[in-house]
Each structure stands twice: as structure tokens, then as C-alpha cells.
């Protein structure tokens, strides 16, 4: 299982958790597994085989858009960060 870090604005969709676990050999499999374990969270970031465009996904600190997108490899030891923009400076 890999660790998935949940951004603060999506924690309500993950029962308040800062981190959840999900399984998959690549980002696509991981997000599909995440959607089964945490449907509310999964549907916010992934749907119809595509990543929502406002969410960045980092596997071990690397943006998957600069790697192989949804085919980017994920390891058991990987940390996956889901990251939407935050605007606040207030």
C-alpha cells in the first residue's frame, strides 16, 4: 500500500484523514483503488479515467504530468500527494 496525502480542502471527503492508503502499480490503478476505498474523495480527483485538471499529483515529489501521467509507476513505499491550488494570503 502507498500513502496518499489528502489536501485540507478534500479531507471532509476522506473522513477527516490527512493521509489514506491505496494500492496500485501506477497512478491510474492507485486512483481507481482510492475511488473504491474513499468514493467521495476519489470522485473529486478522478473520474471517467481522467485526473481532474485542477488537481496535481506528485509521486515521490515528482509531478506525474512531467513523467508518464496516469501510467507513472507507483511503489509500495511511494508517497503520493494530491494537491490543488490554494489562494489564501489572508
Amino acid at each position: 500500500m502507498s500513502v496518499v496525502r489528502v489536501p485540507p480542502v478534500l479531507r471532509a471527503e476522506a473522513g477527516g484523514a490527512r493521509e489514506v492508503e491505496a494500492q496500485g502499480a501506477n497512478v491510474r490503478e492507485l486512483l481507481e483503488d482510492l475511488s473504491i476505498r474513499h468514493p467521495a474523495l476519489g470522485s473529486r480527483v478522478y473520474g471517467e479515467g481522467e485526473l481532474q485538471s485542477f488537481v496535481n499529483v506528485y509521486v515521490d515529489g515528482e509531478d506525474v504530468r512531467t513523467r508518464n501521467g496516469l501510467d507513472t509507476e507507483v511503489r509500495e513505499s511511494s508517497t503520493v500527494i494530491l494537491l490543488p491550488a490554494m489562494a489564501g494570503g489572508c
Binding site: 489536501p7 480542502v9 489572508c90
Partner: protein, 382 residues
Amino acid sequence: MATYRDLLAQTKDEISEVDAAQAGALAGAVWVDVRELDEWQEGHLPGAVHVPRGFLESRIEQVAPDRSQEIVVYCAGGNRSAFAAKTLQELGYEHAHSLVGGFTDWKRNGLEVVVPRTLSPERRTRYSRHLLIPEIGEAGQLKLLDSKILLIGAGGLGSPASLYLAAAGIGTLGIVDADIVDETNLQRQIAHSLDTLGAPKVDSAKRAINALNPDVNVVTYRERLTSENIDRILDDGWDLIVDGADNFPTRYLVNDASVWHDIPVVHGSIYRFEGQVTVFKPKEGPCYRCLFPEPPPPELAPSCAEGGVLGVLPGIVGTLQTNEAIKLVAGIGESLVGRLLLLDALAIDFSEVRIERNPDCPVCGDHPTITSYIDYVEFCAR
């Protein structure tokens, strides 16, 4: 017992003395001025480094690590430098020479001298803790004093940033904010106070900045940043923008303008216990649109007024932004260009992800499709 004259004569016998012409012929020589600071400040030889006689032994290796290189030491008349050359010999320097006649003869003969730009005694005292750091020193402090930094927002992030930038001696601080100070701000916006409740934030911040450091020239823009006014504000000539805006339309507007005006942006954003910090430097790294091509839908983009924020969090993030700003202006250290720092104050966890310029970016990419301001409110509401 030897007198001063005896010792001087003996020393001069033991060292090499050169005149200006001979010294000028020494290839690759390091010129060391061993006079006191006040003498150096009144003028010195071009290209010389200043190592006062009292610090010669402890500092010479920093300026001349190679003991086989040519070194020309000089003082006002050639006596202190004779003793300095003798000391260098004792330290193993094989080619140390004392300049006959020193600075006085040099100047009298009409040779070129340089009068360094220096800090006033008041500034030397105020910024003494910066001057002691080798990476900053007098040259770095002069860069800070010459710099112009624009703060977008005088709120949570802008408060600590404005105060620490002011304390650091940034020459000119511009502040853009249309709001007035209210009681809910005081939980975190430390540039404001009970005394300025109801006052425009730009005026309140200016008051706090000048109470801390009257040296800082504060330029206030009491207006909401828009595509109508941003070019006028940026045309006032800023070296750097510190972005502490509180909404997505302004973030994208600042990004696009900074790319077109070629001004680096130190970005910070906060929500509850979490923060993001990076530096967007046009041509050298990604821009905000490379990182976040689109904002989240409005229901996933709550403001601090809606979702709250830990009061100290903007203090942490705003000072991290200030650290980046000072390094960029002074030209030191490694910046956050290409790196997004993520911090979680609750877990006290700092992590970093790599961010890259997107060659297909609509604003800073190879073939930009957005080349003038758009309707940012509409773009962020989609």
C-alpha cells in the same frame, strides 16, 4: 632595545619593496590595502581588497589562498605595509611586496583611485548583524538598500513580509491593498494594531514599517489589483513581487503580468494549518500557470474568512517568502525556483515537490496563447 625606526629599517631590508610601475608589472597580483576603515572609505586603489593590518593574519587566506601568488600590500605611506609584507613572509607567502610611498604617492602621481560607496555610521550600526555575515556584508546590504519590492496584499502574509523586509533595509516597499483594518485581522496581521482599526491597510502598514525603519520609502496603492491598474503599478519599476493575495483571480493576474513584465514572484499561500511557498522566476523556471493550469472549483477554494487559518501560519509562510526575497535581491543562496515547499504546521512537516516549466503553458510556454489580460474572475469561476 630597538626603536621603531630601527625596526622599520630592519624590516624594509628584509622584504621586497616595489614602486607603482614595478607593482603594475606583476602578473595576477592581489592588491591588499592594510589601512584602517576610515582611510579606505576616503579612497583606495582600483581592484584592491581591504584587510586592515590588525586582521591581516586572520583574513589573508580568504583573499589569497595561494602562497605562491604575487601580493602587493599598501598603506598610506609604505611603513605599515612594510610590516605587513614581513608578516606575510612569515606566513609563507613567497612573493609579498610593499608599495613604496603607499596610497599618498599613488594619488599624488595622478594614478586612478576609487572612492567606495559606503554605509553611513547610522546604517552601519542598524545593519551591523547583516554586515557581519560574509554572504551579505556591506555590498549585500547596499543591494538591499537599492532594491524595490512590491507586496501584493497587506494581510496575513503581507504583514510579516513587510515588517521583516523593512527591518532588513529594503530601500523601497510598495504595498497594494484596498481593504481597511478590522478586528478579525488582528489575530494574525501583525503590521496592524488597535490604533489603526478602520484605517486603510496600506496606511496602517506604512505606519508600522516606518516606526520600525524610517529609512524605507513606502509607496502605497490603496486599490484592488486589476488588469486595468496592474501595468501602471508595475511600471513603477519593481525588482521583485511578494504575492500574498487572497483570491485566485488576483493570483493569475499577478502571474500573467509578472511574466510579461519579467519580474520574479515570491509566492505564498495558506489555509488552516498548511502553506505553499515557491518562487516563479520568468525564463528560469515555471510560472503559476505551469504549476496550476486551473484553479479548483469555488467550493474547493474557500478563503480564510470561510475556512479559517491558524494565526501564526501566515507568520511562518510570510517569513519564508521574505527569506526568498532577501536572497534573490542580495543574489545569494539557492532559491525555491522549480521547487514547491509544502508545510503542515499541525504535523510540523516540511516537504518539497519539483515543479517544471510547461513548454505548452499558455502564458510562459514556447507558443503562448494568452498574450493579454483576460477576465480573471470569469476564468476562476468556471
